[in-house]
Symmetry: C2
């Protein structure tokens, strides 16, 4: 199974990196770009077949390691 | 419109950060985790309605700014 975990900053957290990208895109002539947010994408192969167990583990990975609960949210998907 | 750009290391590029995460997950007792890869997720709001134009621009953003063509690939999706 493959797991994809998307880690993003919470809405209320400022994103200076995203602002820098937005300004750069503007100066390169790209129009209409607003509210750029930069996050992490964690992809992993999991050599198991118990989908429910894998889902529970990936949720726990997000909570314990991959996302900082103070400033980040995460969502994930499991792909067979 | 909302654009989501996923920037990932090319297959042949080593990912020490991914390896560190894999080892940490293993030491935390998560089983079966193999081949962890860390990438970037760039999300942005684009205040336009010409979907074809937006798609062309987002492709160009990936090529010119968001992904390093030497070591990274990117894919994107446009959400209405």
């Amino acid at each position: 199974m493959k797991a994809k975990i998307y880690v993003t900053l919470k809405r209320e957290v400022l994103d200076p990196q995203g602002d820098a990208v937005r300004r750069a895109l503007g100066s390169m002539g790209f129009e209409g770009v607003r509210d750029v947010r930069i996050g992490k994408l964690v992809e992993m192969q999991i050599d198991r077949t118990d989908r429910a167990g894998v889902e529970a583990d990936v949720k726990s990975m997000g909570e314990k390691l991959l996302a900082n609960p103070v400033i980040e949210d995460f969502r994930f998907e499991i792909v067979d």
